[in-house]
């Protein structure tokens, strides 16, 4: 079946429009050319004589306006050289090489095509289609390759894809005048967290969308506090702002699904005066694939993936959800973790089942877990313990400071154990549960010790304590409501007998519960 060529209407240098196909025009040659292509210059005189012959209509879309002018002058052309400097028609025809000559019938169906210049092919074409035309074929080279179409220039190709009718981009376009400073503009619009961002041009967003198979218009979540539809495209725009690579996008998408889950309660996490923010822990094979750092400096700066994925989540919550400091973000002090916080567990260095497996996923699944933190990472320094029990006890006492030493049962904690500490723990076969139970044991205090007094407030209310029966007053209360409120992972450098701790926000149904989401393609 003949190929129907895309219809178009382009103007020549005088502004006269030429439509293709055109009724009553008969057969038409459409030949794409650009002026700086030697092979195009080679064939222009041939197209001109074909045009003068009159049997076939000849149209030559040229890829630059100035180039068209030069071509017309240089070769004394009277054939319509058409302005396709926007490259829309070249793009629609998927031109890879110029010259590209297409012969079409009156209805615009392709009859034959010539690419580049092969003298025998072109001569045969002229002999078949316009035998009366005379040309000095022997003076022409036997073969010349064509040149790359301008539409193949990588930067231009992405722009054209972004602008085409079937573009996956639907977001509002914002034009920035040449006189404006792009970075200042982005700050002025409130799109940033205070640090510079990568301008989300259509080309960059398209590249970002290449990181996922999901449809760009799929609504991933309704994002609080605005409950705005967060499409894959909108999230990709924020991932560009944050400095992500396309490979990071699936992690960002899963992280956003996790924090916008009702159990995680991102609305409350944003709004609280306690300055809570999500910590993202990544598990599974995707860690190495996207370059997440789980070793030296895992919780700090220096890794693009760690920094950009966490930041993309924060910027999406800010820009799509509308959570901004002073608006629905009402943190008393703020928190540097509100810029970014994402790290992977070093599963291979840990003798324990990794976090995602504990939470019901398969080892081969890639998973992101969101935890709402308010303080930390707080360092537990214990360089002298030689038994697992001692290390576990040190971690326990360090956890007592969460929120307030006298505040028990209020929160969760995320415990990041270093390789050296986990070695000591595992030498004595301390499992994660053993660690949890020992933390509960060493932090358990008689309720009487947790009551506010004249020297220290902030503890258990004295009037409630006074109203309790004696047996309840003397009971021992561990730091955490249940050992499951302790979430444990391994990360960090080989050297360092430390454990790093994130204190949680309000725990349980009244606050935030950690949520895990599988990372898709």
């Amino acid at each position: 079946m003949a190929n129907n060529l895309p219809p178009f209407s382009l103007a020549d240098m005088s502004g006269r429009d030429f439509a293709f196909p055109a009724s009553g025009a008969g057969q038409t040659v459409v030949c794409f050319v650009k002026e700086d292509c030697p092979t195009c210059n080679l064939v222009m005189p041939l197209l001109q004589v074909l045009h003068q012959n009159g049997a076939i209509r000849v149209l030559a879309p040229g890829q630059t306006a100035e180039g068209n002018r030069i071509l017309v002058e240089r070769h004394g052309l009277t054939l319509p050289v058409l302005d396709d400097s926007t490259l829309k028609v070249s793009f629609a025809y998927d031109v890879e090489t110029v010259p590209l000559l297409l012969l079409a019938d009156a209805e615009g169906r392709e009859i034959e095509r010539l690419v580049g210049f092969d003298r025998d092919e072109w001569r045969a074409f002229f002999d078949r289609r316009a035998p009366e035309v005379e040309a000095r074929w022997d003076a022409l080279p036997k073969w010349r390759p064509g040149c790359g179409s301008l539409t193949q220039d990588p930067i231009i190709a992405e722009r054209l894809r972004a602008e085409s009718e079937n573009s996956p981009l639907r977001a509002r376009r914002i034009e920035i005048a040449p006189a404006d400073d792009m970075h200042e503009f982005l700050f002025d619009q409130g799109f940033t967290d205070g640090l510079p961002v990568v301008p989300p041009t259509p080309e960059r967003v398209l590249r970002m969308l290449g990181g996922t198979r999901r449809d760009s218009q799929e609504v991933v979540v309704k994002m609080p506090p605005n409950y705005a539809p967060a499409t894959v495209e909108k999230i990709a725009i924020n991932a560009v702002l944050a400095g992500c690579q396309p490979a990071h996008l699936p992690v960002v998408l899963a992280a956003i699904e996790a924090v916008c889950n009702e159990q995680f309660n991102i609305h409350g996490v944003n709004a609280t005066t306690m300055g809570a923010s999500p910590v993202l822990v990544v598990n599974g094979p995707i860690r190495e694939r996207v370059g997440l750092n789980m070793r030296l400096g895992a919780l700090g700066q220096g890794s693009r993936a760690n920094a950009a994925i966490g930041r993309a989540l924060r910027l999406a919550v800010r820009n799509i959800g509308g959570a901004r400091p002073g608006g629905t973000e009402r943190s008393t002090f703020g928190n540097p973790m509100k810029y970014t916080m994402c790290f992977p567990e070093w599963e291979e260095r840990s003798p324990w089942p990794p976090l995602h497996v504990e939470r019901g996923f398969k080892p081969e699944d890639s998973v992101v877990t969101a935890f709402a933190m308010t303080s930390g990472p707080v360092l537990c320094v214990d360089q002298s313990s030689r038994t697992g029990r001692q290390v576990a006890g040190s971690i326990g006492l360090s956890l007592e400071a969460a929120h307030h030493v006298r505040s028990h049962n209020s929160s969760d904690a995320l415990v990041v154990v270093s390789p050296e500490h986990v070695d000591t723990l595992w030498r004595d076969r301390f499992s994660k549960d053993d660690l949890r139970e020992h933390v509960q044991r060493v932090t358990a205090r008689p309720l009487s010790e947790l009551v506010s007094d004249d020297d220290v407030g902030g503890g258990f209310p004295p009037e409630r304590f006074a109203a309790m029966p004696p047996d309840r007053r003397s009971r021992r209360v561990p730091k955490f409501a249940a050992k499951e409120n302790l979430h444990i992972v391994v990360a960090g450098a080989e050297a360092g007998k430390f454990t790093s701790i994130f204190h949680g926000w309000a725990g349980g149904a009244m606050g935030s519960v950690p949520v895990s989401r599988k990372i898709g393609d």
Partner: protein, 117 residues
């Protein structure tokens, strides 16, 4: 640099001047926000006098009830004709459930919400 090709033409490159011109034109970025057009909100018209049912909503922050107790006492002293009804959110960390909001709206003429911090 000059290229000689075919039978007549000699060409200089680069010639794609339009491309360089285009790059100096408008830059385009995509809007990272939810594109919500800001809505101007007006305050409900003030009635001039308080009568009927007055809801007191406790958002469940510590000591919010102390403030509301005092408010209820002062309101009933100064406006003996009104009826005060007490409501509470399950948790201050989340918006009030729809059912609670509808109940307050259906049964009351006024609502006072006790914020903390």
């Amino acid at each position: 640099m000059r290229y000689v090709c075919g039978w007549s033409a000699s060409v200089e490159r680069p010639r794609d001047q339009d491309f360089h011109k285009r790059s100096k034109l408008m830059a385009t970025i995509l809007d990272p926000t939810d594109e919500r057009v800001p809505v101007a909100r007006s305050i409900t018209e003030r009635p001039g006098a308080i009568a009927g049912n007055v809801a007191l909503l406790d958002i469940a922050k510590p000591r919010g009830n102390v403030l509301l107790d005092r408010l209820e006492q002062r309101l009933t002293e100064q406006l003996p004709g009104i009826t005060v009804r007490r409501y509470a959110k399950p948790t201050f960390t989340k918006p009030a459930p729809d059912a609670l909001r509808q109940e307050i709206r259906a049964d009351n003429d006024f609502v006072i919400e006790a914020l903390a911090d």
